[in-house]
C-alpha cells in the first residue's frame, strides 16, 4: 500500500501485544489511509480490540504504530489523544451523570487553553452545537447522558470524538445493539466522516461490514489473515475457514457471506 504524499495515515508495523506470555496481537502490520472506512473483523479472541487498545495507549506493546508521522507506542493515553487519535469502547462509555451537552463540551475542552476551565459555560459553543446536530441529539442536549438509549450513547461517544476533531477514529463495535435503521444511519455517518478522516471500525456485524466497509482486515489468532476489499476477503478460503471451521462446503460458506454481490453492486450504482 502506498501512502503517497498525505502523511495523515495510520501505519502499524509488527505491532505485538502479549499478556504474561500470551500473545494477543502477534506482529500486526497494517496501513489505513484517510478516506478509507477500514473494518477490522475476525472471530472472538482474534485481537481486534487489543489492536485498538495498543494504538490508543491502553496496553503496552512492542513494534510501531505511527499516525501522521508520530510514533504512538510508548506515549501516554492522553498524549496520544492530543495527536488527534480518538476511540470509542465496546460498551459505550459516557459521563452518565452529566448532560449530553456537558459530555461534548468536556470532549471539546481538551483542545482549549487551560484558563477556559475556570469559567462557567455560558452558551453552547458552536462546535458543540454542530456536533449535536450531526449526531442527532440536539433535542436531548440537556438530558443526562445516562438516560440515553444504547444507540444514542454510541452516537454521543462518536460525537465526543468529532467535537474534538479527532483525525483518526477507532470505533469498537459502534452498532452493537442498534436497530436496523440506526445501523444504517450510523453507517452513513461513518461514510461521511471517512471522507476526510481515517476511520477504523472493529465490528462483528457482517451485514453492516458488507454495506459500509471500503476495505477489510481479517485478524485471527492475533495475526493478519487477509486484507482487501469486502469481495476479496470473502472469497478467501482461509477467511471462510476461520469463520466456519474446516470441513464446511463452499455452499455453506457462501450462505454466510450471502448478499455481498447485491450490496456491492448497490453501492457502486
Amino acid at each position: 500500500m502506498n501512502p503517497g504524499m498525505n502523511r495523515d495515515y495510520l501505519e502499524l508495523d509488527d505491532l505485538t501485544v502479549s499478556f504474561d506470555g500470551f500473545v494477543a496481537v502477534d506482529g500486526v502490520s497494517v496501513s489505513v489511509l484517510p478516506g478509507e472506512l477500514r473494518f477490522l473483523i475476525g472471530p472472538n479472541g482474534a485481537g481486534k480490540t487489543t489492536v485498538l487498545d495498543a494504538v490508543s495507549g491502553l496496553v503496552p506493546c512492542t513494534g510501531s504504530a505511527k499516525y501522521a508521522g508520530h510514533e504512538l507506542v510508548g506515549r501516554k493515553v492522553h498524549k496520544i489523544n492530543q495527536l488527534g487519535v480518538g476511540r470509542t469502547f465496546q460498551t459505550a462509555t459516557v459521563f452518565e451523570g452529566l448532560s449530553v451537552l456537558q459530555n461534548l463540551d468536556i470532549a471539546a475542552g481538551s483542545r482549549r487553553p487551560a484558563r477556559t476551565l475556570l469559567r462557567k459555560r455560558t452558551q453552547v459553543p458552536p462546535e458543540v452545537a454542530e456536533t449535536l446536530e450531526t449526531i442527532g441529539l440536539t433535542e436531548l442536549g440537556d438530558q443526562p447522558a445516562g438516560v440515553l438509549a444504547h444507540g444514542q450513547k454510541q452516537w454521543l461517544e462518536i460525537g465526543m470524538l468529532l467535537v474534538q476533531d479527532a483525525r483518526l477514529l477507532m470505533l469498537d463495535e459502534p452498532v452493537a445493539g442498534m436497530s436496523h435503521e440506526e445501523k444504517d444511519e450510523t453507517g452513513r455517518l461513518l461514510q461521511r466522516l471517512a471522507t476526510d478522516r481515517t476511520v477504523v471500525v472493529v465490528e462483528h456485524d457482517m451485514d453492516f461490514m458488507r454495506s459500509f466497509a471500503t476495505s477489510v482486515t481479517v485478524l485471527a489468532g492475533g495475526k493478519v489473515l487477509a486484507e482487501g476489499s469486502v469481495a476479496e476477503v470473502q472469497a478467501d478460503p482461509r477467511v471462510q475457514e476461520v469463520y466456519l471451521g474446516p470441513g464446511y462446503s463452499a455452499e455453506e460458506a457462501q450462505a454466510v457471506f450471502a448478499t455481498t454481490a447485491a450490496a456491492d453492486s448497490e453501492r457502486s450504482n
Partner: protein, 422 residues
C-alpha cells in the same frame, strides 16, 4: 442523523420560566447576602461570647468540609487525612503565636520547661507573621500537590487512596507526639496570649476572630462554587465517574484531581490556622485519624456532592456534638456513628438529597408527569448527584443556595407533613 424513539421530554414550561428567578445570579448573590447577614449581624447579637466562639470553631470545621466536598463529593477522592493539612495550618499558626508571645529572640515557655536547647532552627522563620501566613497558604497545598501527583499519576484511587490518606494522618499525629520539644507532644500547644498584636482575652478581639473566620468561610464557599459551576467542575465530576474515559479525551485526570486536592488542603490549612486562636489549643487529638473522620462525617451527612451540604452538615454535626456531649458525655460518639451509618445506608447523597427525593416521590405518586431537566444554572446541586441517571428529578429540583440555607432545618419536617397529607 435524526433521532426517533425517545421523545424529547415535554417540560413544564411554567416551572421552567420560574426557575431562573430562584437559581440565577441574583439568587446566588442573595444567598451570600443572607449568609453574611446571619454570620455578621444575627449571630453576634443572638449568641453569648462563649457560644459565638464555639460557632467560630464550627466554622473552621465547615471550611475543611467545603474542601472535602470538592475533593470527595465532586472529585471522588475519599480523603480520610484532611487532619494532616488542618494540623499543618494549625501548628504553623501555633508556632508563630508561641514565638510572638515569647517575644524577640526568646524561647517559648513550654520549650524552656522541656529542654535548654532553645528554639529549633526550623521554628525561627515563624517569628515572622508574613512568613507564617504565606506558609499556611502554600505549604499544605504544595504538599497536597506532590502527594496528589505521586498517587494519582500511579492511578491510586478509591479505597487505596483513602487508606493512604488515613495512614498519613496517623503518621502525622505520631510525628507530633514523638517530638515534644518542638510540638508540645501529646499535650500540644496552648495558652496563647495574643494574635498578631491583639490580646486574645479581650472579648472584642475574639469577636473579630469570629468575623475573620466567617469571612474566610464565605470566600471559600464562593471559590468552591465557582469551581463547581465552571468547566473545571464538570471535568472533575467526569473524572470521578469515568476517569479512564477522560484520559481518552486528552486530559490527564491526575492533574484535574490534584488541583481539587490542593484546594481542599489549602482550605483545611487556613481552617486550622484560625482554629488555633479561636479554640486556644492544638494537639495531636485535633489532627489524627479520629478527627479526620469526624470532619468527614459532617460532609457525608450534609450531602457531599452539594455546595452547602458539607458546610451545614459540618456545622450541624459539630453543634449537635457539643450540645449533646454537654448533657450526655458518652452518648454522642455512638449517636454520631449511628447517624453516619444511617446516612450511608439510606441517603448516600446526604440530607441535601432528602428534599429532592421526597419531591420526586410525591410527584410520582401524583401523576406520571415528565420530569423537568436539570438546570445548568443550578449546577452546584445538580450535576454531581450520582443518582441523576436513574432519578433526574432528585438533583433537578433541589433548592438553590439561598432557599436551602434558610430552609434546611425545616425541610424534612415540612416535606413529611405535605407527604402525609396526600
Amino acid at each position: 442523523m435524526s433521532r426517533h424513539g425517545t421523545p424529547a421530554p415535554g417540560v413544564s414550561t411554567a416551572l421552567h420560566r420560574l426557575r431562573p428567578l430562584l437559581t440565577g445570579r441574583w439568587a446566588v448573590l442573595g444567598g451570600f447576602a443572607l449568609a453574611a447577614l446571619a454570620l455578621f449581624v444575627v449571630a453576634p447579637l443572638a449568641l453569648s461570647d462563649f457560644r459565638l466562639s464555639l460557632l467560630g470553631k464550627y466554622l473552621c470545621y465547615a471550611m475543611v468540609a467545603v474542601g472535602i466536598g470538592l475533593a470527595w463529593g465532586r472529585g471522588g477522592m475519599l480523603t480520610l487525612g484532611q487532619g494532616v493539612f488542618f494540623g499543618l495550618g494549625a501548628y504553623m499558626m501555633a508556632f508563630h503565636l508561641e514565638l510572638d508571645d515569647a517575644g524577640d529572640g526568646k524561647v517559648p515557655d513550654f520549650m524552656a520547661l522541656i529542654s535548654s536547647d532553645g528554639v529549633p532552627w526550623w521554628w525561627e522563620p515563624f517569628r515572622s507573621g508574613i512568613f507564617t501566613i504565606l506558609a499556611i497558604l502554600l505549604v499544605p497545598a504544595a504538599l497536597a500537590g506532590l502527594l496528589g501527583l505521586a498517587t494519582f499519576r500511579r492511578k491510586v484511587r478509591g479505597a487505596y487512596f483513602a487508606i493512604l490518606s488515613q495512614a498519613l494522618a496517623a503518621a502525622f499525629a505520631i510525628l507530633l507526639i514523638g517530638n515534644p520539644k518542638a510540638t508540645g507532644g501529646s499535650t500540644g500547644l496552648n495558652n496563647f496570649r495574643g494574635f498578631f498584636g491583639f490580646a486574645l482575652n479581650d472579648a472584642a478581639n475574639r469577636r473579630m476572630l469570629f468575623f475573620i473566620s466567617a469571612g474566610a468561610l464565605l470566600v471559600m464557599v464562593a471559590v468552591i462554587r465557582q469551581l463547581m459551576v465552571s468547566r473545571y467542575g464538570e471535568l472533575l465530576v467526569a473524572c470521578r465517574d469515568a476517569e479512564e474515559r477522560v484520559r481518552f479525551l486528552g486530559y490527564d485526570p491526575a492533574n484535574v484531581k490534584t488541583v481539587a486536592f490542593m484546594v481542599a488542603a489549602g482550605m483545611a490549612s487556613v481552617a486550622g490556622a484560625l482554629f488555633v486562636p479561636i479554640v486556644g489549643i492544638v494537639s495531636p487529638n485535633d489532627v489524627g485519624i479520629v478527627p479526620s473522620i469526624g470532619l468527614l462525617i459532617g460532609v457525608a451527612i450534609g450531602g457531599r456532592t452539594t455546595l452547602l451540604g458539607p458546610v451545614l452538615g459540618a456545622i450541624g454535626v459539630a453543634w449537635a456534638g457539643s450540645t449533646l456531649s454537654e448533657n450526655f458525655p458518652s452518648a454522642w460518639t455512638y449517636l454520631q456513628g449511628l447517624l453516619f451509618m444511617l446516612v450511608i445506608a439510606f441517603l448516600p447523597d446526604g440530607l441535601a438529597s432528602l428534599n429532592g427525593l421526597l419531591r420526586a416521590r410525591r410527584r410520582t405518586g401524583e401523576a406520571p408527569e415528565p420530569e423537568p431537566e436539570p438546570e445548568p444554572d443550578n449546577a452546584e446541586l445538580t450535576t454531581a448527584s450520582k443518582a441523576a441517571p436513574t432519578t433526574p428529578t432528585v438533583s433537578g429540583s433541589a433548592p438553590s443556595g439561598a432557599e436551602e440555607s434558610a430552609g434546611r432545618a425545616a425541610d424534612p419536617v415540612s416535606a413529611t407533613h405535605s407527604g402525609g397529607t396526600e
